[in-house]
């Protein structure tokens, strides 16, 4: 990479914090033992590091370390949670409830359940991106065995009212899974105070490495789950495979730092995010996607009417942003999340997601506020819809 663009795509992935890198590297060559090696110091040291990291992850969300299972990322966590719980509970019912704006890593496992003969309800959201709680309550049936709702949306950054959702599920005795991939380190989570049975995490949205994640699987009261990857019975039998010590140590350190620095980080980012938001929403025909208040300060998703999102991004080689989620930006379909909040195709096509994070500076925002309006104007001059 020559001159590096300003990175405003923290929702796609974050840099690994240099302190996390430092924590990881010694576990590659020097302390390389297999945590499953019970017969020598290389293995014991690795196992100890793994358990310490587990405690760090648990601490960020006020959970018991024993309830944390390592996975290869939030995609796998979601798969294990949804397909694993559905398989374990199939004798009680075959209906699951989720939301139309979930990440593909939740929607696709639910579609897989449909293929297996389960029934899945994909609830719509309100125009602000939030779940209508009455509608949610009404969707729960006697044979509903599982609900899956994300905490923070990856595209539009809205925060669902998980406490209320958990209370409703609790009342009905229905297991709740929460995809918290975008929430860790941004939103306070207290798993002792909230009745959530399963929660998915990954490291790479919280300044840890890609390819490592965790699933919280509550033990008290016990959540039943069927393993999805078999082979030796690591991780309470839920997830087999050699534990990648360096990755786990990285996630542990990232979550330890998140706990330590979340308050300060988020305070600083709220100011930067506000400036960016005010600057861009001040332009004509620019709309905010997702609720104005119930959102993380780090995410700004706008629709810039009369021009197209990809063209706008291409006009901004100095800034790395995305249009919709990183996972769907390659396709020509407009974002299903923006469609779900009722945006027209045209406004969905014209969306831009700017997401900031720990390493975003004042100067980055200055540059964005200088470049983005300029390019919006330039493209609008080219647009057949602007003059008309």
């Amino acid at each position: 990479m020559s001159k590096r663009p300003i990175y405003l795509d923290y929702a796609a992935t974050t840099p690994v914090d240099p302190r996390v890198v430092d924590a990881m590297v010694p576990w590659l060559y020097e302390n390389f033992g297999n945590p499953a090696s019970r017969t020598h110091a290389y293995g014991w040291d690795a196992e100890e590091a793994v358990e310490q990291a587990r405690a760090h992850v648990a601490a960020l969300v006020n959970a018991d370390a024993k309830d944390i299972i390592w996975t290869s990322g939030a995609t796998e966590s979601n798969n294990l949670a949804i397909k694993g719980a559905a398989a374990a509970l199939a004798h009680q019912g075959r209906h699951v409830v989720t939301v139309a704006t979930e990440h593909k890593a939740v929607l696709d496992p639910c579609h897989e359940l449909e293929r297996q003969g389960f029934e899945a309800t994909f609830l719509p959201v309100m125009p602000n991106g939030l779940l209508d709680l009455d509608r949610f309550r009404a969707a729960l049936r006697d044979d509903t065995i599982l609900v899956s709702v994300m905490l923070v949306n990856n595209e539009i950054g809205v925060i669902q009212d998980i406490s209320a959702i958990a209370a409703i599920c609790h009342d009905k005795g229905i297991l709740l899974h929460v995809d918290a991939a975008q929430a860790s380190g941004k939103v306070a989570i207290d798993l002792q105070a909230t009745d959530i049975g399963l929660m998915s995490f990954c490291a790479h949205k919280t300044y840890g490495p890609k390819g490592i994640g965790a699933l919280y699987v509550r033990r008290k009261p016990r959540v039943r789950l069927q393993a999805q990857i078999h082979g030796g019975g690591h991780e309470r039998g839920f997830r087999s495979g050699t534990l990648p010590t360096h990755q786990i140590v990285g996630m542990g350190e990232a979550f330890r730092l998140a706990k330590q620095e979340m308050a300060d980080d988020m305070q600083r980012l709220a100011v930067l995010g506000r400036r960016l938001r005010d600057g861009l929403l001040g332009l004509p025909d620019v709309y905010l996607n997702g609720d104005a208040d119930q959102r993380v300060a780090t995410n700004l998703n706008i629709s810039v009417d009369h021009i197209e999102g990809e063209a706008l991004m291409m006009s901004l080689p100095e800034i790395a942003v995305s249009s919709g989620s990183a996972c769907t930006s390659a396709s020509l379909e407009p974002s299903y999340v923006l469609k779900a909040i009722g945006r027209s195709d045209a406004l969905a096509y014209s969306s831009l997601r700017l997401s900031i994070g720990r390493f975003t500076t004042d100067a980055d925002i200055d540059a964005a506020l200088q470049l983005i309006p300029r390019e919006i104007n330039r493209l609008r001059e080219l647009s057949p819809f602007w003059e008309d």
Partner: protein, 127 residues
């Protein structure tokens, strides 16, 4: 998507963006695509007495490749006679701009807009 140098050149520096008066008898206006599909190309040609295209103008809504194709179209159109203009097709745009397969659609919009502009001009002449 990493764009070709050809796309970037046109995209960063579009040629002949603008509007001609569509009411004029020697101006043909063509448009392709739709806002719902995420891309629209509008091309206009002003045909001189000798049958050659004197001016071409475009407006485009869509991805960068669409804008680049529309811009390139105006360059190719200016100075061409109508018969030559009529055979400009999407394959030519794909090649000239090194467009990847997923961007075929953008090239087709340019082709369709050219055809529509020529058709509009010819209609006017027949009236």
């Amino acid at each position: 998507m990493n764009y070709s140098a050809e796309v970037l050149a046109h995209y960063r520096n579009p040629r002949n963006a603008g509007t001609l008066d569509p009411q004029l008898p020697d101006v043909g206006t063509g448009q392709a695509g739709s806002r719902e599909q995420g891309a629209v190309v509008r091309l206009q040609i002003k045909v001189e007495d000798d049958g050659r295209i004197g001016q071409a103008r475009f407006k485009a809504y869509g991805c960068g490749c669409t804008i680049a194709a529309a811009s390139l179209a105006t360059e190719w159109l200016q100075g061409a006679d109508l018969d030559k203009a009529a055979v400009l097709n999407s394959a030519a745009f794909v090649e000239a701009l090194s467009l990847p397969p997923v961007k075929m659609y953008c090239a087709m919009l340019a082709e369709d807009a050219i055809q529509a502009a020529i058709g509009d001009y010819r209609n006017k002449q027949q009236e």
